[in-house]
Symmetry: C2
Subunit: 226 residues, 2 copies
Amino acid sequence: MFTPAIISESPVSTPWGNIGTSSIISKTVKTHEPLFCEGDEATHVYEILEGVVCCYKIFSDGRRQVITFAFPGDLVGFGHGKGYRFDCDAVGTARVNAIPTSSLLRAVKERPDLGEKLLEMATSEVASMQNHSLVLGRKSALEKIAYFLVELCERSADCSADSIELKLPMTRADIADFLGLTVETVSRSLTKLRVKNLIELPHPATLFVRDIEALRDLAECEETFH
Amino acid sequence: MFTPAIISESPVSTPWGNIGTSSIISKTVKTHEPLFCEGDEATHVYEILEGVVCCYKIFSDGRRQVITFAFPGDLVGFGHGKGYRFDCDAVGTARVNAIPTSSLLRAVKERPDLGEKLLEMATSEVASMQNHSLVLGRKSALEKIAYFLVELCERSADCSADSIELKLPMTRADIADFLGLTVETVSRSLTKLRVKNLIELPHPATLFVRDIEALRDLAECEETFH
DNA sequence: CGTGAGGTTGATCGCTTTCAACGGAGGTGG
DNA sequence: CCACCTCCGTTGAAAGCGATCAACCTCACG
């Protein structure tokens, strides 16, 4: 187990920054560098400031399941017991706040509103994981990809525009391991959507959503309890 | 949307019963009778006292995904916003405590330890859902069934015995919809395990685990963060 | 310019689904 | 009391979807 490469550090102040300690530091992690690894002592919680990080679990036989992608504003590494239960990598370069778990817990004891906020975040994570289990368990490859794209659209800014530009910082393998597919199937499904004129794919990492309603229909996105 | 059939009611006192209100009532729900339905106003949280309940979501095209089975001691219906996000049924007859959400929230504000306990439960539910997403995304039918049986063993009493007797109150369809399989595949997988002498199946609802270590190996149950 | 990682596409294989038939258990009504 | 029916579970045969294996392409980088 090696520790995250720290490119730069500086004290910061954010939603989670003002919990009354000076122990929070901002870090920059580069592509594929770990924020933490499975089994490491869960000393810090990370608030994503910029970029995307990827939480995943690797099985003993090499199979991998991406548990979640975390975007700016998300908190990762919370609610693990003593040791982290999975690995967490940067997808592309990311900036994060590293908050010592002990400081956070101390702050929560003093300020009940923080506890409520944490409970709210945990609750919304439960909802999101439940939603993901629906996708993994009962959707076809094409539906999974459509769902994934719709989710990305809703996380990004102007979801109502005629053509939504999505940056895909993660690789096809990341997407595949998130949706329980293979890279080939991800690629083929994207091609199908392109042929159907629902998306445009000028570059592997750049994607334009042409018809989000059609995508929504495919994904059967009835829920969207953000 | 109809309301749960209430067979009997009586005031009770349990871990969640002593939150300083007399509004908690014990209910008995019979097989397939709903505790709550998707979209219903989330007025109550339910503590399972006896039996098993099943939380699931039904897609518009009829596909169903069982999100979780809840056993005695579990709390269901917490952390939904205004309306429940999914349906919840009794599997066989179940006894539950119905706790008004408002009472619970009020009690949490007065007693920080309750808030901690809730956060802990939410956290453990996140862990359990993450675990389930691994199973749904990356495991074969046989591995899924093995995993399911191991989980049941660990929830039930003497997990160390040579031969563990499991009662399967849920139908094959419930299991299938929990694991993202079909009833036929569930049945076939159980047969395979029986042929391999890992389990005995004298009756569809009664199962003896003969070799839990072999099941564990199949399921690749490395984690088990209870 | 060579190299390697990431992405796409094609061909084939195999597991799970689908469709279908059958058997047993429990419930109901003649 | 028994015929009938329905629900649940099991098993078989066939089909289909996604995985696997393999080739090729592009692009970034040394």
